[in-house]
Amino acid sequence: MSAAESSYHRAFPVKGGDFAKAGNAACEIKELLKDIGLDTPTVRRAAIVAYEAEMNVIMYAWEARMDLTVSPDEVHLVVDDRGPGIPDVELALTEGYSTATAEMRELGFGAGMGLPNIKRNADVFAIDSEVGRGTRLDIIIRKNGHVPS
């Protein structure tokens, strides 16, 4: 059986500003990965990545599509948002740098750890952002990949 034949794909729409549903996509992704039978550390890393990415969309973007593809050896997550984009990606990847509002911080988010934590949990991480258009994250989490220190 080829990897393509044995892969599973599903898309999750996420709406910016919808704090009431924040985390629903990530929790659903986690249950799916558990049902598929992936090992616990891989499921945890993928769920954290999905949750941080989902929260970023809810806090900063207008809408996004999260595309999850699971193959025997890896979890592939692409998060493509329509939003304001990130003017300085390198700065946004710095731990502690944040443009979050007080409201976001009151919810326990916006500490400037989201993107760095996504990168930390990923085996492959790519980000492409255009101001005025949006941001695209392309993340791979490999089974038995690295465990963040």
Partner: protein
């Protein structure tokens, strides 16, 4: 390690999810109001102490495999948050103690039990 019944006794806590096993054990304890920090640093199986009471606390625990929550300083989550935790089998405790006092009591208990604190 600390078990739920000891947490309840130490913190004069109220168990908000009564169906939970009082012998449920937590390998670590993590205290924070920042869910970003929980997602970055808390270990699987840990008990979270927090002053936040929104749904993101339960979501964060669920995503990061934390095993229980203590809400400090007399804060109580809304019924929908409790119901969400029940569904996900995450025990919730409420205590009137401050974060500092709750942490100090748990740390003292762990130390008295001969466990090495990091």
């Amino acid at each position: 390690m600390i078990v739920l019944k000891d947490v309840l006794a130490l913190l004069d806590g109220e168990l908000l999810t009564p169906a939970t096993d009082p012998e449920a054990a937590f390998g670590k304890v993590f205290a924070s109001d920042l869910m970003s920090d929980v997602l970055t640093s808390a270990e699987p199986g840990a008990l979270l102490l927090t002053g936040l009471v929104n749904t993101h606390v339960v979501n964060t625990c669920s995503v990061a495999d934390l095993s229980g929550v203590v809400f400090v300083q007399g804060k109580r989550p809304a019924e929908d948050v409790i119901s969400q935790a029940r569904t996900r089998n995450i025990p919730l405790v409420a205590t009137k103690m401050t974060m500092f006092e709750a942490c100090a009591r748990i740390a003292g208990h762990v130390q008295d039990g001969g466990h090495v604190r990091r």
